[in-house]
Amino acid sequence: MCQACDSFLDRLFAKGVLHETGVDGLYGRGQAFEAVIEGMDRLITRTAANDHAEVIRFPPGMNRALFEKSGYMKNFPQLAGTVHSFAGSERDHLALLDNIHNGGDWTGGQGATDIVLTPAACYPLYPIVARRGPLAPEGGLFDIQSYCFRHEPSKDPARMQMFRMREFVRIGLPEQAASFRESWLERARDFAETLQLPHHIDVANDPFFGRAGRMMASSQREQALKFELLVPIESTENPTACQSFNYHQDHFGELWGITTASGETAHTACVGFGMERLALALFKHHGIDTNGWPNSVRAALSL
């Protein structure tokens, strides 16, 4: 029996739910997959309708200078992606074509552009909020979404290199950030139950790089700054994080100079939905054909 030729990913390809591109973690999305993503987007919007968050949508790239200031390279250099482009002469162009033709390295002459691939949907938000000056007394609440990039090629369909992250970001007093996260931890359980997904919530850490990163990760866990909603997709022993609930304390407030109405450094918290992961969890648990999904799930997603 051949397990490898009947993997979950292979079945998704076979049914046109996802389309292979030749690169692990980089896939085209079929109609059924996108219908589920759109349904979830609407469900999330309904869940948060009474919060009146300010909606901002980002392209998949962000300002390189702001990315540098964000400190991402300190913690996750292994995941970052930069956008480079050709900026040479005609002679350089001929050499480039020659290298492509001969299978040589044609990328060495590419220069960095002002754009890097966005690593997390909330990264481009903080500088925008900072530019507006001190927050109103009620603080800020944002509904954001971006395609994100993380360089971690894998055969696990739930570990894509490019994926959509929907986020709600709360910026304000420490109590405002804390109660925001608490309320979303509650909502997350309802959300997973509505979608009939087996799940549990656990404390977690980000994949910080190196030995310094081990300390960051341990500190993050000890302070319970990150929780994840976990759903088994590729394995039950290592379930996949489909939502995360993060309290950054005053890290981003300090970094970007975001202040509250009374002049204190703002605290931030965010809840992130891994849209592709949630969709894959649904395809895993309810079947490759969405027509066979439980009626209540189909109704919740307006399928």
Partner: protein
């Protein structure tokens, strides 16, 4: 050793007050030590004392006070001497 630790806490810790004004057992995090600064402090301690903190010491507790840091260094230096 405590003086050297205090100097490094001053250089790397970015605390609200001088390390000389902080008791051996006082909580450095309460004095403003952030996770990022704790990492910088950890790296500076390794370089200055020529040690490498093992995985089980790479946590918040190990750097929570001057005496906690000294305890880790004694343990590492002791192992080296033995």
């Amino acid at each position: 050793m405590l003086d050297t630790i205090r100097r490094l806490v001053d250089e790397q810790g970015r605390l609200s007050k001088a390390a000389t004004a902080i008791g051996d057992d006082a909580d450095l995090y309460a004095a403003g030590l952030t996770s990022f600064a704790a990492v910088q402090l950890m790296l500076a301690l390794e370089e200055t004392f020529d040690v490498e903190f093992p995985d089980h010491m790479l946590n918040r507790r190990s750097f929570s006070s001057i005496s906690a840091i000294a305890g880790c260094l004694h343990e590492l230096k002791g192992e080296e001497a033995a």
